[in-house]
Symmetry: C3
Subunit: 474 residues, 3 copies
């Protein structure tokens, strides 16, 4: 058997303890409280397309690395906004990846893909330019088998619950279909996350359309601020009826803001008139985080905040191929002052749960760990995007455990749109946390039994409890 | 013997060299040039109260972690500002800690407490919910023995000198009592540190009261800026007569400022009239650092600067329980531009010593090490609060040694108010530095004899010399 | 043989794999695409002066460390701007270093110097106060041998190509001399780098003089903005004719700016009239980076950007001894927003190559790696100044490989003015990268054969290709 068994440890005894710990958590069910899998995938349960369309074309980690070496997304089959021609032959795209496979040495993409080939598809041939077709054909053959349809994989992966992400302007039709099949609904296997960014960002081009759609779905007049808030509350209720336990908020910064109702309404009205400034938009986003916290105290949704991405930094890439194709870049993100209005108001209320993520590891020990270790409402999300790697996960634990311990962190969240990588990502997180815990064990800083209990908590029990997937109300 | 012997090393040979190095420094006397032990403790030499009141109630590292998981400080016996009821039964508080002991896995608090149980109190039972009473009773029994009174412990701990911290508005009465007992005074075992923040911060509510008290103690008219400076000089002299060798300055930022006397006087007068703005207060703090540097050139006090804490970030905690109970949070702290006025003026004068600390490790290699490696007057203080941990100490050495070496760092400073943790904190620092030095030895980057000499310097000789506890004038 | 063989690894198997990898790259030729060696050294090929004047006096890493402990540069023979007396006896200077050798424990200077003594001069006596004269004499004796003249060392070091750095106001006379001897010119062993800072920084005291000199050399009227641009283009052509393949830009920040020609001309004219503000100067620098990128698309020069140094932070040191003597300090440096105008305009053009360096490691994973992994034109330079150390090199690879891989980094650049340290610096870089790659191998994350190929690329092939030293046009 040639399947690799990385421990993310170098010293043999450290590796041995890491392996022992990992073995105790390896088979725990997967809790996927936040991610971007298309619910249609599981609602329709159709066979996946070819290996390239499954594993390369939609994976912006992969396409951006190839772009960075001068291979344009067109040659990788990434659709153009203008509908212009792009590569459509999966095998051609796959060969291009194989020819450039050296670019991925040492990267998480290589780790995920190799382990996906091995552990999901049972293909152990090492990818090289010369083996491109062999690997492609082997995966393609598997994809035709019934056991490789989405629902079968879902069960084989051991996923207990998976949350997709939808806007309040989504009618949750896919989730209704899943519920009808016994796959969705409260306590079900596939649920949604309430993500209102597209009706909160006044500076989006499509904001007016979005709030119109919001009003329509909720039967509220969103041309008033009061109607807007009512509509949001109604949509939250609809999501909750479909099983949702969390909201999610992707903002450029972590800024929160206390506005009076009339101040908020005035900004909203400037937005309606098309007169909102960028500063208005930023203030309104910060205010709405307070507003959503208030709603959470009523309805129990766990808030997630994902701040710090400069969306579409690569403007030419955006112009050609649109959003979410690898053109976003992190920026320095402050939490200490930005979150203070929210924490002043609700941070001491243990009924509220706010899970904060970061793209900026240079806040770990200075801001995030002290805050999470000082406010009952605050938890730290798993290392996110650009930091979702074994090395960054280790740095996260090394930097935050001192001030936040393990129990102010929320456990692993895969946050992926790549369905087939889910078990691999959880596996790597469990291996990585096992390695960190093992390092404490071999340094005589934590007994093995407590390390094992902690690993099970991080892998399974904590995310289940913190994201309210245990059926318990606030 | 089950006492743990952590080396903060994973590889067996690395651990072995670390252990050998540590053994050479383990028994050196303790130099405690900065901390927050109450001098009354040693002046009165009364028995300690129960284990909870000794080890939990006053330790904000512990109470904030419990608060972060929803356990309010009231239940932990932390006094309320309104005098309202809080838990008073030490055993109940102790059990609450034991029930939540898992929260401290991997944290320095766990390391300090466990090693305090073991090495100070000789209690080797592992704390668990089921052993809470056993551990409590064993420690309580020890606390009744005469060998566990403060002065006896002081001697057993091997403390050579301990500096408490007082404001110039303190009459140093406790220190006079210690001196009368042969424990204080110049060259004595217990001395004070001159910390003038409460008469420098124009934006403190009690500033007017404080400068009135300052004037009274010094016999100066602090309603003029000149009288204020005279009063400060006189109080410094009084501190120096009581053995003080250092001042300490806890500012929100590291900003320093060159003002003319008339500019400074004008701000001071706005302060007197209650008209000082926050910007005035910040400017005045920055100016006073220059002023105190000037005084240091005259009287030889070593300056310590502790910048970067957002005091009372947790406003509800402050409202209920006041200051220094775990509600402070670090913030991003710049040194390169902030310290430049001070360094331009006095940074090349080797008679001046300025020891700078940080809560922001993301300045180690970029700012602090290059500055300390480039100015004779500047030294780096040991990793402070939130960074006073084995892992952060390692990161400190890894990041600053390249540009600052070892001899521009000031050696270990425990900075604690937890008297019983002092030997443990020094021990962990020595073990941590031993581990770092051992890593250089096993990598063939430093011979063992030089590593041992360096460890003795960091543990004992450097802090003694740099903080002028060796009896040598500037 | 007592020559040390550091692996920058602690675990024995890790060290063994690192050693095996290193052995495969050890003897590859040295590519030195950027540095500050004086071309006169190789043009004249005179014997070096005494060991102190060769290894201490000009090395500001060494003199600043000694200064930081109160030893003024005068005592180390660093020339004064006022021509005042400084120490001239090399042996006295050398003894001062030896007496203070403990200050360098754990620093890269110690590593470089010790290995230079050993591997360049064959002196294996450990430097100590007592051995100062012995080491001095041994090196001095070597310096008299013909095999220790610059060109002989160049060949013994295995340098394939070395780029010095000159301003467009330099007539390249030394390079002409080298070319006449068969050592320079296109494809030659010694070439120049085009570094226009002294004609771009409007706020330099000597800017007017410099542009006058520029105009004179180019035969253009630099009293107009159009003439200035023409003069720069002509000097670039002259540099290219002398073999230059790169430009270099040392700016306080990474700011880039899109100005219209008339806006740029207006600022230039304010500069001519002596009316340019600091903001003008900063805007103009940012604009000129765009202008130089445009020129690079025409003439193929690879751009290097070295941002983030606060030059002459130590003003008293500057006043006494001038520039480049250890008074510069890094500052926090932003790239995400600063580089966006440049990247928006040219970042997707693979004909352009921009190699960005940093003094601020706290941008590695947040900014630099995501940018380099997202734009074809951008590459990351090797860890620079204050970060040119084994530990920082490891942190660089650990932090950037996740998002940028290895192939968006530009390979090692020694950037030194210390000619005799060149082989040592390359050796340490190769050992350090070998250690990082070996860590991936022992963790089962990269096969040994791919690790070896990557190491050869980082050590030799990548810098040769990226800096266009392979004779291939854009």
């Amino acid at each position: 058997m040639t399947v690799s068994d990385p421990t993310f440890a170098i010293d043999p005894r450290h590796a041995q303890v890491a392996r022992e710990l990992y073995a105790t958590a390896r088979d725990l069910p997967l809790i996927c409280p936040h991610g971007h899998v298309d619910p249609r995938l599981l609602a329709d349960d159709e066979p996946f397309p070819d290996p390239a369309r499954l594993l390369i074309v939609p994976d912006h980690y992969v396409t951006r690395m190839l772009l960075s070496q001068g291979i344009p997304p067109d040659r990788l089959g990434v659709p153009r906004r203008d509908g212009g021609p792009v590569e459509t032959d999966g095998r051609v795209i796959w060969r291009l990846l194989a020819e450039n496979w050296h670019l991925f040495r040492g990267t998480p993409s290589r780790l995920w893909l190799e382990r996906t080939f091995e552990t999901v598809f049972g293909v152990e041939t090492r990818l090289r330019p010369e083996t491109a077709d062999e690997v492609y054909d082997a995966i393609a053959a598997r994809l035709e088998e019934p056991g490789f349809r989405p629902r079968a994989l879902f069960e084989r992966f051991g996923i207990e619950v998976l949350a997709t992400t939808e806007s309040p302007t989504d009618d949750l039709g896919q989730h209704a279909k899943l519920a009808a099949d016994g796959w969705g609904g409260p306590g079900g296997r596939v649920i949604s996350t309430f993500r209102p960014d597209n009706v909160v960002d006044l500076d989006r081009e499509d904001w007016s359309e979005n709030i119109a759609r919001l009003g329509e779905l909720a039967g509220e007049d969103t041309l008033t601020y009061a109607g807007y808030l009512n509509a949001l509350r109604q949509r939250r209720d609809a999501f909750i009826e479909a099983g949702t336990t969390c909201s999610d908020h992707g903002h450029p910064t972590a800024r929160t803001e206390v506005l009076s109702e009339s101040e908020a309404a005035a900004i909203y009205e400037r937005g309606l008139r098309g007169e909102a400034t960028p500063a208005d938009a930023e203030t309104f986003r910060g205010h709405m985080l307070l507003e959503f916290a208030r709603m959470s105290l009523d309805d129990g949704l766990v808030m997630q905040i994902h701040p710090g991405a400069v969306r579409d930094h690569n403007r030419r890439l955006y112009a050609a191929h649109g959003k979410d194709v690898g053109g976003d870049i992190p920026q320095a993100t402050g939490y200490v002052h930005a979150l203070r209005p929210l924490l002043d108001t609700y941070g001491m209320d243990p009924r509220l749960r706010v899970v904060v993520y970061t793209l900026d590891e240079y806040t770990f020990s200075r801001e995030l760990a002290p805050l999470a270790g000082g406010y009952p409402a605050l938890f730290l999300g798993a290392p996110w995007w650009f930091l979702d790697t074994p090395d960054a996960m280790r740095r996260f634990r090394e930097a935050v455990t001192d001030s936040a311990g393990f129990y102010n962190t929320a456990g692993f969240v895969d946050d992926t749109r790549a369905f087939c990588s889910i078990p691999v990502r959880h596996d790597i997180s469990r291996r990585s946390d096992a390695a960190y815990l093992a390092s404490l064990v071999v340094q005589d800083r934590l007994p093995l039994d407590e390390a094992a209990e902690t690993l099970a908590d991080l892998s399974y029990h904590l995310p289940k409890r913190i994201f309210r997937l245990d059926g318990k109300a606030a």
